[in-house]
Symmetry: C2
Subunit: 666 residues, 2 copies
């Protein structure tokens, strides 16, 4: 193990923030009152009619508390870990003795399920105890360990209790003895990246450099030849766990086709890539590792400028749940997994911390306000795994190429990664609102989510309270209250959302002209001695934007997608009738923005004049003809925010609408 090249100051956001927001408090309440309790029932197999999880039972059996056999996927343990993590964030925000008791109980079971040497994994402990660490490519041992480490840290940070933290430290130390390049160690790495970012968090939490080094080891070992996944496969007698995937040989699937520093395009399984890049950015920022940072930037640029849907989702094909190629972004067959957008948010946050540039926060916001919350129903009870940009339930019924797409959200899944991932992200959303750069005494406002934040700069405590109606009209008011009566000098950096052309700012009631001299990397930067009661009022006027896709995206060519503020909009059949493909939006159409009172969470809906192309011919059993005539109906169409789709009657949904452009005529 080497030491970090250039140990730098830890500039992780070290602040407390309590969200109180007309939009997001709803989601956090849902997670608290519906999602986390429901998922606890699901983990305990108490949901009637749902496929049992058995995840808790597996731990009880491994702990010797119950008789039985392991049940479920090889990564079933991670569902419990993610649930503990989400519960921990809820506990950090608000005391809940009953929830805390429940968590303590399950942690006690987990601790008993841990083996004497620190090993912790119910699948291998119960099912294949002699096969530990023999199939890293497919069997998710390090992935499950990573999630358990994240949950141990979250619970420690929420409650100060070390019960799960000590378990995962033993687990991490055990992993540290097993893996490495020294004699007697396995020179391997995980098939599904996750351990790397978890070990980095453990390094931050404990201050122990060995975890940073182990995280970096896993990153650097990846993709080295001879290929570890092939070697271990030979060694174990060429058995495979997921016969349908060929993970052993399809190395790009797990981003192990090249050393991470040599990768420049986003390949393979989308969740794996973004989890890996999250850790790469963590390690690069911490160690000042230039080539690792450059790899992060190359991969980021490839995703964001060539491989991301306009809803902030990624993964263009259901086969391997993977990236495909540049500008290949089909809206109907998209995989666009909720978890992948959550991972993109993790990564974006690290990129922001490494290099404060609003472009990262723009992507974070796009993924959060569109794909992530599309992933959960408005009542918090049902979930999308796949978030298409075009859906047609009648078509999905008959064509198996859409077998992965749903137009009704589902309950707890057989492979239940997305629901607990949404829960842990939303429950920890307070950590995404601000970033701080202590070296430059700068406090960045990345998201305009209301609440009360507590910061420390140079020993001075500052309370920042934000009131925000950002989601309905783009307005936020920030009040700055340093403890010190003399005030505190630091820089407030206010992100200008990428969608806003003309931001407005009032400092203590006085409108301030915003020109390039105060804008840096997409932020309005205000450096001054901030005094109690200083107030910033921001307005980001929300024009309805007609977004176009890059002209090399075949699937969006000639189409337009409607955006207002951070939200993408869509047409639903329930508002606009069946056959949404018949609708064209004239380029000259103006939009009526309706007050969002009747709309979910106050986000306005939009109406516009449009055209529906209809055929008055009787086709008389013909499928093709040369004399078909079409006519145009003038219609009004209604757009609703994408995140609200599939919460009413089941039907078609389109984000990209064909544009009728009179100007592009001759």
């Amino acid at each position: 193990m080497t030491k970090p090249d250039t140990p730098q100051h830890q500039h992780l956001s070290q602040y407390k923030n309590k969200i109180r927001d007309p939009f997001w408090s709803h989601y956090i309440d849902l997670v608290r009152t519906i999602v986390v309790p429901y998922q606890w029932e699901a983990l305990n197999d108490r949901i009637q009619g749902a496929e049992p999880s058995r995840a808790i039972r597996n731990f009880r059996i491994a702990a010797g508390e119950e008789e039985g056999e392991h049940y479920g996927m090889v990564f079933q343990d991670s569902d419990v870990a993610k649930w503990i993590e989400a519960a921990s964030y809820l506990l950090a925000a608000q005391s809940d003795p009953e929830l805390e008791r429940t968590v303590d109980t399950v942690i006690a079971t987990i601790a008993r399920a841990q083996q004497a040497d620190g090993y912790l994994n119910t699948y291998f402990t119960l099912k294949e105890p002699r096969m530990r660490w023999t199939n890293l490519a497919e069997c998710h041992e390090l992935y499950c360990a990573g999630h358990m480490i994240e949950s141990g840290i979250a619970y420690y940070q929420a409650t100060g209790k070390r019960n799960l933290l000590d378990v995962v430290i033993r687990l991490a130390d055990h992993i540290g003895t097993v893996f490495g390049t020294e004699v007697g160690q396995l020179p391997g790495y995980d098939g599904h990246q996750e351990i790397e970012l978890a070990l980095f968090k453990l390094y931050q939490t404990t201050g122990e450099a060995k975890y940073l080094n182990l995280s970096r080891y896993f990153l650097e070992q990846r993709g080295k030849g001879p290929h570890y996944f092939v070697q271990e496969w030979e060694k174990r007698g060429r058995t495979v766990h997921f016969a349908e995937l060929d993970i052993v040989h399809r190395h790009a699937y797990s981003q192990s086709h090249l050393p991470v520093r040599a990768q420049s395009t986003a390949e393979g399984h989308a969740v794996r890539l973004v989890y890996m890049c999250t850790a790469m950015a963590d390690v690069a920022a911490e160690t000042g590792d230039v080539s690792l940072k450059e790899a992060c930037e190359r991969l980021w640029n490839n995703v964001i400028s060539k491989r991301m849907y306009i809803t902030g989702s990624i993964g263009s094909s259901a086969k391997e749940e993977a990236f495909t190629g540049d500008y290949d972004l089909p809206g109907d067959t998209a995989y666009a997994e909720t978890c992948a957008s959550i991972g993109l948010i993790f990564w974006a946050k690290r990129m922001l911390q490494m290099n404060p540039n609003s472009k990262y926060a723009d992507v974070l916001e796009r993924a959060l306000y569109n794909t992530v919350i599309s992933g959960m129903s408005l009542d918090g009870q049902r979930f999308f795994y796949v978030n298409p940009l075009e859906a047609d339930p009648e078509l999905h019924k008959v064509n198996p190429d859409y077998a992965h797409v749903r137009t009704r959200r589902q309950g707890w899944f057989g492979c239940a990664c997305c629901p607990p991932n949404i829960a842990r992200l939303i429950a920890s959303l307070d950590q995404y609102v601000y970033t701080t750069d202590e070296a430059h005494s700068t406090l960045y406002v990345q998201l305009y989510i209301g609440g009360e934040g507590h910061f420390t700069f140079g020993g001075n405590n500052i309370t920042l309270s934000m009131e925000s109606s950002y989601t309905s009209n783009g307005q936020s008011t920030i009040r700055i209250n340093p403890d010190s009566a003399e005030g505190v000098g630091f820089t407030m950096a206010l992100r200008i959302p990428g969608w806003c052309a003309s931001p407005e700012l009032w400092i203590n009631g006085e409108q301030t002209f915003i020109d390039d001299s105060i804008i840096e990397c997409g932020y309005i930067k205000l450096s001054r001695i901030w005094k109690k009661g200083d107030e910033l009022k921001l307005c980001f006027p929300m024009e309805v934007l007609r977004m176009k896709g890059h002209d090399q995206i075949k699937d969006t060519f000639g189409k337009v997608a409607i955006q207002r503020g951070p939200f993408m909009y869509c047409l639903e059949e329930t508002d606009n009738g069946e056959g949404l493909y018949r609708i064209q939006l004239p380029a000259s159409t103006s939009f009526q923005v309706h007050s969002g009172e009747d709309m979910p969470l106050g986000v306005p809906d939009l109406t516009a004049a449009a055209r529906r192309i209809v055929s008055h011919d009787h086709w008389e059993g013909q499928l093709y003809r040369s004399d078909a005539k079409q006519e145009v109906q003038a219609i009004q169409i209604r757009f609703v925010p994408y995140f609200t789709w599939a919460n009413r009657e089941e039907g078609e949904m389109y984000v990209w609408i064909r544009e009728w452009n009179e100007d592009v005529q001759h």
Copy 2:
């Protein structure tokens, strides 16, 4: 077994026809000089660099001529059968002693591979001799038997030799003892339909009603409950042969979800459906079975009016190579298998014989002139399995949803069904040009393919010679020469192609006005005493047609496909540059038809003024933006016949082009 309900006159086309045609003679020569010899080498594993077939070797091993194990798919035998069938049709048209010797040699081996009880299948004989007839759902025993029966008949009809016919009669008789509803018989039927149409041919050839009855038994047993495929699966211990397909339980895949008479939509594997319907139409026509005839018509109407591509191909999804639902006809992910269009031609021919209506011949022609010959390269050396209507090689490389699509034809396939199927269809094309209705003394001209046909009506021999330049300009001249000096009275029925609005006819040099009084079911009917030297000159003027898809086909909405005569046209990248999706065809554009001299087989290419939409903006790494501007370039585009695509430089190909319709503006 029951006897036929209403034995009717056998109105199978009983004529000899020697094709001599500027277009089709080329293909027949290719089959004779390239395809059949190449496939013989392939069947004997003598093609360097190609996956070995081992199909002949399997027979030699089963015959005791060689040591070894069975190799290849469970339906490998059928490749040999289809080859013999194609070779037989060539021998029928033209003597070739060397080819005949080769066929005799392989037939001798096949005869030795036949078991004492008549059973004939190398897979089960060599690999699982105790498992005969235990997995009809998946293991293609009856399918292979069917192809062998067809080849035995074809060789007998070509040469008069009974060597293979006697083998297949023993095989059919063996099958007749094994299957049926009597005690001790298996009440099963084939997983892949084929035996039914083969047994019907055997009935026609031998006159033995038992084969008609056995064919009808297999049709009628299909889809009865309790489900046979489930029963045999239980009986054999729930083993499966093709784990990825679940043929045992997905009954619609093999059209066994309902009794055949109760089926009204085309479901499941496309080739299976059309082979089944071919036999249904055979049996219905022969027995006068009304409900079976009605089922044929219902299924035909469903396919033709809702589930067929404009190129005459079928099968909208690669998953299960199957039909999906009404109006679901994606051009890029289409399966559109060459074999399925060949089967559609088999079926269309039977529908024509049952009910002479030009609509069946129109479909036959559409499939033949587009998908079938698209399936083979112009040099006869390479083949498409899948015939998409939109292709983009760069996209196919990166997106696994297109894994089944090729933009370069391949050599001999691992699953080699299509190449020998093309060979046997083209080698027997003489049988598709005419149909006869002896009961009504009518001779139908279904296809305008030049050659010399010999017919008998009421004991009178008639020679019909056709000279045709149909494929380039729609003209044909038919000379009628009865042997008898007094002439012969019968009806000539001349099909008016569905694409032709204004046919022209000259009888003995005199133009005849074509009105409804002489048109019946799409044919010009001319009844008279035909005398030596009578001459019909037909002209079907070929307008360039802008075809539109039914307005419920989402994938063709707002697009146009170009047809001239029987040929669909397409754009290729090599003529029109990359990014074919940027091209729009104005509704008012006129087409220039270029003499086909430089074009393959003399079929003209077309040019037209069109528009290319381009973006002059610099995207500067952005993927989406609200201020993108597009401009229109006036361009000339070139359409080439669809069947010629992918014979030059590899690149994009589009059949359906977006239309720019100035008229549909307000």
